[in-house]
Symmetry: C2
Subunit: 134 residues, 2 copies
DNA sequence: CGACGCTACATGCGTGTGCATCAAAGTCCA
DNA sequence: TGGACTTTGATGCACACGCATGTAGCGTCG
């Protein structure tokens, strides 16, 4: 009986630790994400997901990568990622080009404007991280 | 010159660490959040924010707390929190009652159905945390 | 070859979100 | 007391999201 009670107590403690960790993660995420979103939107007219996409593309050979790779990078559903690319194309930050090897897919290509926007936004991004990831 | 280069290098490294940490935080958040959202929605017809609100209310004296406290708990804007309460009221999980001490405000009160829903959902919530917060 | 299944991407739809704003009530100070 | 400022909560609006689905192209196996 004592053993059972002890095990139950240990489980409850472990559960409590997990819950606390999760709440801390939520709070931290919200703080950094909101600050990033605000600053990036205000200063550079892009959101967190746009920045992530730009950064991924800027790190790619030729500034191009497959749509599905972009979907994996931004933490969004496939449909949301598709619309993200559409918005960025509308704003002239990327272009969609056919992928010859796999005609189902597309290449998302960073434009010159997109690269400039990324380089402008990067210091803001880093500064917000430094300020909020204390 | 060497000192400057060294300082720059150190800064870049520190920046890189921050970026890696932020990406890890984003990935972790997305994984846990999506799993929680899916399971809670599927099994108990509530989302992550609804669960947070229920848990906060369940921990309150009399199962009631001020609207603004709830807004602070769920990581949402004030308007989103207001609509969250409206949805939960529509679903019979909470009720809004006038706050006599401060007639601008409201009390959000957990109903019996709301408390039951919370107790049903809690094991799911803990199980998902245990499974995904590895 | 041809049928089947799988993957990549786009899109209609309902819903949730933040921003801006509003009304009502509390607070503070001249 | 009275007027200015703050705080609380609700709501119109535009927009982004996920789910479900549709279309097209790839791959495989009989």
């Amino acid at each position: 009986m004592l053993a059972h009670a002890t095990i139950a107590a240990v489980s409850e403690v472990a559960e409590d630790v997990l819950v606390r960790e999760w709440r801390a993660l939520l709070a931290r995420h919200a703080a950094v994400y909101n600050a990033l979103e605000t600053e990036l939107r205000q200063r550079h007219c892009i959101g967190v997901s746009e920045f992530e996409a730009l950064e991924r593309l800027a790190g790619c050979e030729m500034g191009k990568c497959r749509g599905s790779e972009l979907t994996d990078t931004v933490h969004l559903s496939q449909s949301a990622a598709s619309r993200l690319v559409a918005r960025m194309e509308r704003d002239g930050l990327v272009e969609r080009s056919m992928c010859e090897m796999d005609r189902r897919g597309i290449f998302v290509v960073l434009t010159e404007k997109g690269r400039e926007r990324y380089l402008e936004a990067k210091p803001t991004h880093r500064a917000v991280l430094a300020a909020t990831m204390s």
